[in-house]
């Protein structure tokens, strides 16, 4: 968590890395939405596709599994809840609940879909520079009224920049308090305040310094547009993704 590896952009020169961030965002959204409606055959196809994508993105299977271990637990939970809360042919019956065949089937289906969405999301992050993601999002916000897209892009950049700093601070604060025996205090409100207050205060002090430093570096809302360029390979990929989505929904 310290490293928050999922923030991890893995620099490399693969085809996926070279695709335009805007295209990849559209791909991710459309595959995610289509994927949530996928049935079995489509799921298999998407899984094969996800496998290829992850292979190209050069992430090791092991590191991916480590990263999503909690999510997998969560999926198992959904599977379970689903399997006991669906009407149908009874497989196992205990005193409190009964597991149905339909329930297991639905549970697996839902979990598989969610897992795929997450895997595609990870492939996207691994192959896209954070500043490009930011630029891509800003580009999509451009036509929307009332939303200052460059400001939003700067703000997202600051979030990414400060999450690890806040983690470090939280750990330091928590350790300093443990060293002074806070674990003997059982009142949760007291402990929430003791952890939350210094954390937010430190963060705001940082904010003051940061604002000053940004001013010193001539911050203005009118900044250079980020550099995004698309090429033939983006459109080619778009065609592939389009057919994949149609295929997923139709099947």
């Amino acid at each position: 968590m310290d490293e928050l590896t999922a923030f991890g952009f893995y620099p490399a020169g693969s085809l996926l890395h070279r695709l335009d961030a805007r295209f990849k965002l559209v791909f991710l959204v459309s595959i995610s939405i289509a994927g949530l409606r996928a049935e079995w055959l489509a799921l298999v196809t998407l899984t094969v596709f996800a496998g290829i994508v992850l292979l190209v993105s050069r992430r090791s299977l092991f590191s991916i599994l480590i990263e999503i271990r909690y999510f997998i637990v969560f999926l198992l939970l959904i599977c379970f809840v689903r399997s006991i809360s669906t009407q149908g042919t009874c497989l196992i019956k205990t005193m409190f609940f009964s597991i149905t065949q339909e329930g297991i089937r639905d549970g697996i289906l839902i979990s598989w879909r969610l897992l795929l969405v997450v895997l595609f999301g990870m492939a996207f992050i691994a192959t896209t520079r954070p500043s490009d993601i930011r630029a891509g999002v800003a580009w999509f916000l451009k036509p929307l009224p009332f939303i200052p897209h460059k400001k939003v892009a700067t703000m997202i950049g600051l979030v990414v920049r400060f999450v690890p700093v806040i983690f470090n601070q939280a750990r330091e604060t928590a350790n300093a308090q443990k060293a002074r025996g806070i674990e003997n205090r059982k009142n949760p409100v007291y402990r929430l305040v003791r952890l939350g207050l210094p954390l937010v205060r430190r963060t705001f002090e940082n904010a003051d310094k940061l604002a000053l430093a940004m001013e010193a570096r001539c911050y203005s809302e009118n900044r250079s547009d980020p550099d995004l360029s698309s090429g033939v390979h983006d459109w080619f990929a778009a065609v592939v993704v389009f057919f994949l989505c149609v295929f997923t929904i139709v099947l």
């Binding site: 999922a6 995610s32 996207f124 979030v159 806040i166 983690f167 939350g196 205060r201």
Partner: protein, 188 residues
């Protein structure tokens, strides 16, 4: 508002969004369900930044997650998270922060109203969260409430109780300020 204080608010809003993101992973280990700090920061965004900037803060947080940055609980973000089972809660953060900010602004930051605002905000989060959870999992309302609301209510109460003193201690630090005042903080 001059541009310097505009920028201050922008930085505050960004950093509260970062706190919210970090809060998804920060928990106080008490009792069987650890208390996750995330919605504490959503409430603080409302109380400290006011309706407009609180919404900006939460909006930026959600947007960062939508782009695939792992700022949501569970580590893995992405647009799919909104379509996943917990998507409703996430979306509910937005009106909740706005609501808390609005009530708190209009009632002059009085403690009673701050608490009411946070209770209202929490309800808003659950309305969105439960409704979507029902749609995704196809469970009945009672079951959904049992899974998606009741286990967390105590924690929410504790967080509301904690947010009050935190907000009171920090409001003087961040009230919209011009250049002069912030420099005093700097040189101290």
């Amino acid at each position: 508002m001059n541009s310097a204080s505009q920028m201050h608010m922008m930085v505050y809003a960004s950093l509260l969004a970062a706190l919210t993101a970090a809060g998804a992973y920060l928990a106080i280990p008490i009792g069987p369900v650890p208390i996750v700090l995330q919605n504490l920061f959503i409430m603080l965004a409302g109380l400290l930044l006011g309706s407009r900037w609180a919404m900006a803060s939460v909006g930026v947080y959600l947007l960062a997650g939508a782009c695939g940055l792992p700022v949501f609980a569970g580590g893995t973000g992405g647009i799919g998270k909104f379509l996943g089972p917990t998507g409703g809660y996430l979306l509910g953060f937005l009106p909740a922060a706005f609501f808390i900010g609005m009530i708190s602004e209009r009632t002059g930051h009085r403690v009673v109203f701050d608490i009411l605002a946070m209770i209202g905000g929490t309800l808003i989060i659950y309305i969105f969260g439960i409704a979507w959870l029902m749609v995704v999992t196809g469970m009945s309302l009672v079951k959904t409430l049992a899974v998606g609301m009741f286990p967390f209510l105590i924690g929410d109460g504790l967080k509301i109780a904690a947010a009050v003193p935190v907000a009171r201690a920090l409001r003087p630090v961040i009230k919209p300020k011009g250049r002069e005042e912030c420099v005093i903080n700097q040189t101290k």
